[in-house]
């Protein structure tokens, strides 16, 4: 039964929610970015390892945005299309329903990570960091993908409209990304430094920089893992709590 449900959710994300086009658009965007970086003058300012890091950040951002949009509309679209009632009338439990939607969206995110690998390999060729960058992208991207999809699906259970659900999910993404993007500024204050220690994206970026730019061994960067793992745990708890609240629109 669970296989049937996951397969249906995956197909729904792909066809109904335009997931297929989102995957294609991601590839087009990555292509454009890659071509721009290798051709513009300013691109040559950067070392290859830097370009690799920027590529990884772009892959993360695109993967998470697509996954968030699909996840945030997973339950809400069922309510809006009036198909939720039929689902709730089956013997399937709310938890199983939540899990199947979660995995369905996750598979799309994994597909995007997979299609990003050729770009990463192409950019990294010639350095000693191809394998490392692929492993880092899959590892860090995987943990963050698991977390963001959980948050997005949870919001889709709690909100009544897809607009609210999607916007809130994207807001969370921006809030979590922001410290990592403003690390130079935040480092100057105590509160900023605490925020940077806690933020999973900032820690992910630090890990990437340490391994690729500063060429430090990966195993020494495990100190950056706790914030990622804690973020994942919080996201799962949120999803489990929200899963119990699956209901029809209007039922209190």
């Amino acid at each position: 039964m669970i296989n049937t449900m996951i397969k249906k959710e995956f197909r729904e994300c792909l066809f109904e929610s335009k997931g297929l086009w989102m995957v294609f658009s991601t590839a087009v965007l990555l292509s454009i970015l890659s071509i721009v970086v290798v051709n513009i003058k300013e691109g040559s300012v950067l070392a290859q390892t830097d370009i690799l890091q920027y590529a990884m950040k772009a892959i993360f951002f695109l993967t998470f945005i697509v996954s968030l949009v699909l996840g945030a509309s997973s339950f809400v679209s069922e309510r809006e299309e009036n198909t939720m009632e039929s689902l709730l009338l089956t013997p399937v439990s709310k938890e199983m329903l939540t899990f199947s939607k979660y995995v369905g969206v996750l598979l799309i995110g994994c597909a995007i990570l997979a299609i990003s690998m050729p770009y990463l390999v192409a950019i990294g060729l010639g350095t000693q960091f191809v394998g490392t960058s692929v492993i880092l992208t899959l590892f860090i991207g995987g943990i963050l993908e698991l977390s963001f999809v959980a948050i997005a699906v949870a919001f889709s259970i709690l909100f009544q409209s897809s607009k609210a659900s999607i916007l809130t999910s994207i807001l969370v993404l921006i809030l979590v990304f922001m410290p990592g993007m403003m690390s130079g500024l935040l480092k100057q204050s105590v509160i900023g430094r605490i925020l940077l220690r806690m933020d999973p994206i900032a820690n992910a970026f630090d890990m990437m920089k340490a391994v690729l730019s500063d060429q430090l061994p990966i195993h020494e960067q495990l100190v950056h893992l706790p914030s990622l793992v804690i973020f994942l745990i919080i996201a799962f708890i949120f999803l489990c709590w929200a899963g119990g609240k699956v209901s029809l629109k209007g039922e209190k």
Partner: protein, 196 residues
């Protein structure tokens, strides 16, 4: 008669002393004038001498990590207090400056020099972390906050050459092939559904 001679002597001594003082003052002013003229042409021999003593030049590839040692000397006869020492970076090839924080976490902060007594010199160390590729000039400057004077030393030539093996053809090839491949897969799936 004696009284007249006495008065004449005193007046002469006074006049002579005045001349000596005036002569000495004039000499000092000339010296100062020379000193000021030297400072306005931003090189050494100024009140504050700023010199990058180490390294003499940087010729490397990314990532370069090093420390720039800057000697700051008070060439005046007065104690100068409340100064700040800092780096500026110019990209020769691109005709632009860079924000110094892009060249190291601690490179952009000014180093405070509390005071320098006459002829005293201190060495300031600023660590740099160079990622970018290009031709740069690093200049060290000292600002005296009390007088708002800036003293700059000779620039340090920095050449960072890319050791980039970025394979442009492979990247462009991948960028072209991937979307086409995915489009083909997408169209194939759509056609199969339509046939069904």
């Amino acid at each position: 008669m004696r009284k007249l001679l006495y008065i004449f002597s005193v007046m002469s001594i006074c006049l002579l002393s005045t001349q000596v003082v005036i002569a000495a003052d004039t000499t000092q002013k000339i010296d100062q004038t020379i000193t000021t003229a030297t400072t306005n042409q931003p090189k050494s021999d100024s009140e504050i001498q700023v010199e990058i003593i180490s390294p003499k030049k940087i010729d490397s590839s990314p990532v370069y990590d090093g420390t720039i040692d800057i000697k700051v000397k008070n060439n005046t006869h007065q104690t100068i207090s409340n100064m700040g020492c800092y780096l500026t970076i110019v990209d020769v090839g691109r005709n632009q400056t860079y924000p110094v924080d892009e060249f190291g976490e601690n490179a952009y902060q000014t180093r405070t020099i509390e005071k320098l007594i006459p002829e005293e010199a201190v060495t300031i160390q600023i660590p740099v972390h160079i990622l970018y590729v290009g031709q740069f000039r690093f200049t060290a400057s000292v600002i005296a906050y009390d007088t708002n004077q800036i003293y700059t030393g000779a620039a340090l030539p920095v050449t960072i050459t890319a050791v980039s093996n970025l394979q442009k053809q492979v990247v462009i090839g991948t960028s072209v092939v991937m979307p086409i491949l995915l489009l083909g897969i997408g169209v194939g799936i759509w056609k199969r559904r339509k046939e069904n």
